[in-house]
Symmetry: C2
Subunit: 297 residues, 2 copies
């Protein structure tokens, strides 16, 4: 039988604050963490990942940790913010101490990959559930969803459908280069910093390009026309609605075109005043019903 203390010990090395850390006044281990004041505004988001819904039951705990944190960080990238620190509320029911050790390996990996501090956490027993809180500061200005302007170009920062392919391969127990796109989606911080001075609106594609672009449109009170042929997809049209891509979708004034070239940035359409998202293929408007797509291929 493992105790709460055994589990806490697994995390100990991740939360030890070096004495000379200028940012963390009080680290984990007290009632709360104290983070040094900053002249920049604080950007904060959280994401809950649950077993079966956000990752398969048989996932490696290293991957569960990496993916839960990575997908939460993606919201900061979408906001034009540089990540700085995180905290984690972990609920788990494993009775195997190795499970927790592996979870901390995945956590440590992503802390290193993005130079982050873990400033606090809570661990409790129950159905596997990871609440990841992320904190950062704007590169330039916060990129909201609500400021897309009629006439702006619409860009995405990568191919859609790679994670979808990866999850499919994982479920089939196939060795595949795509599995990492599912378990280790890389939040687009570098591109976030690049677009930060130019973007009028931004969102990360977690729920599928169409749904997320619709969110930009409804919150900006505009519409969009996108060109099916210009969208880089891996599989088929369902890549537009599947999600899990965690690339960015942003809008920017036409005058900024020169800054954004393939293969880092794909111009896929334009913001319109029509209050709907229209997809065109060969200049023909595609329709899809509530249950998904009309067959058109």
């Amino acid at each position: 039988m493992i105790s709460e203390l055994d589990i806490l010990n697994c995390f100990q090395h991740l939360v030890e604050t070096p004495i000379d850390d200028a940012q963390i006044v009080v680290g984990s281990g007290d009632d709360a963490a104290v983070i040094k004041s900053n002249i920049k505004d604080l950007v904060h988001s959280l994401d809950v990942s649950t077993v079966s819904k956000h990752f398969p039951k048989n996932s490696d705990p290293k991957d569960i940790a990496y993916r839960s944190i990575s997908t939460a960080l993606s919201d900061l990238a979408a906001m034009g913010a540089c990540p700085s620190f995180i905290s984690i509320g972990l609920t788990a029911d494993s009775k195997d101490i190795q499970w927790y050790k592996n979870f901390t390996i995945g956590t440590e990996q992503i802390l290193k990959d993005f130079n982050l501090k873990l400033v606090g956490g809570d661990i409790t027993y129950g159905e596997l559930n990871i609440c990841v809180n992320v904190f950062g500061y704007p590169y330039k200005k916060p990129l909201t969803r609500s400021n897309a302007q009629v006439g702006d170009d619409i860009y995405i920062t990568g191919k859609l459908g790679l994670a979808r392919q990866g999850l499919k391969d994982f479920k089939l127990k196939k060795k595949s280069e795509f599995i990492n796109y599912y378990f280790k989606p890389e939040p687009e911080f570098k591109k976030s910093e690049l677009i930060s001075p130019f973007a009028s609106s931004c969102i990360d594609i977690s729920d599928g390009l169409l749904k997320d672009l619709k969110t930009i449109c409804s919150q900006s009170n505009v519409g969009a026309t996108i060109d099916y042929e210009k969208i880089p997809i891996h599989n088929d049209m369902h890549d537009l609605t599947y999600g899990d891509d965690y690339v960015l979708c942003f809008t920017t004034s036409k005058k900024n075109s020169d800054n954004f070239q393939e293969p880092d940035f794909y111009k896929i359409g334009q913001i319109s005043n029509k209050k709907e998202v229209v997809i065109k293929k060969n200049n023909k408007k595609l329709e899809f019903d509530k249950n998904g797509w009309d067959s058109f291929e």
Copy 2:
């Protein structure tokens, strides 16, 4: 069948940011919230509450919300910090929209009671689990657990065992004034502000006085001697180990005695250099074994 949107709509009125809010630059509804920079350091903690472990399965969702948030806030009080804003990761499996409406009523109540902003959240489907993130700023200085000094007096800010009685009454379906002590523990912010300039260390009593005082002692590298007769308890000696009280336990130099009088503050003992927590009754040292207390009453 209720949709995610139906649930989100229940929370909408809680996250609408007034345009003239000086603290929230971007509120909920975007990828992340943006909180205005502050010259004071940020104090942050989180607490996960799960069904059956942190509240009974048949609890009213209003009470679940209030208690989950209240117990998380208590960590800020223990840190000498004034609460400012919160965010919530809610995982729930109810298919009844009224459950969510009631959860928001409890949330709204505590937001009002402590003048807090809800700046973000995430809702997902699964076993009931509430991750509450709390944020505040020090009244004076952060009150850590690690600075108790030999010779300091030890105080607690209220009676122990009231919540224990309340939970017992709730389970027996008894009408009782104590049930509110369990479901609506009041974080001790007023007293936290009062002690903030004077306390050398502080913790909130969530796991029982003895365990929490031991935490102060081990983190401060000291011991403590407390006087059983001076501890205000409701039931019996098990009130010292039960927890759920959420009153504060703090230490302060003897010279500050005049500031701390009953019934707001109870002086229960002294910090020693013995590296153990000793409880005395009629000048006799009480022993208790791993399973709890030796019978001595």
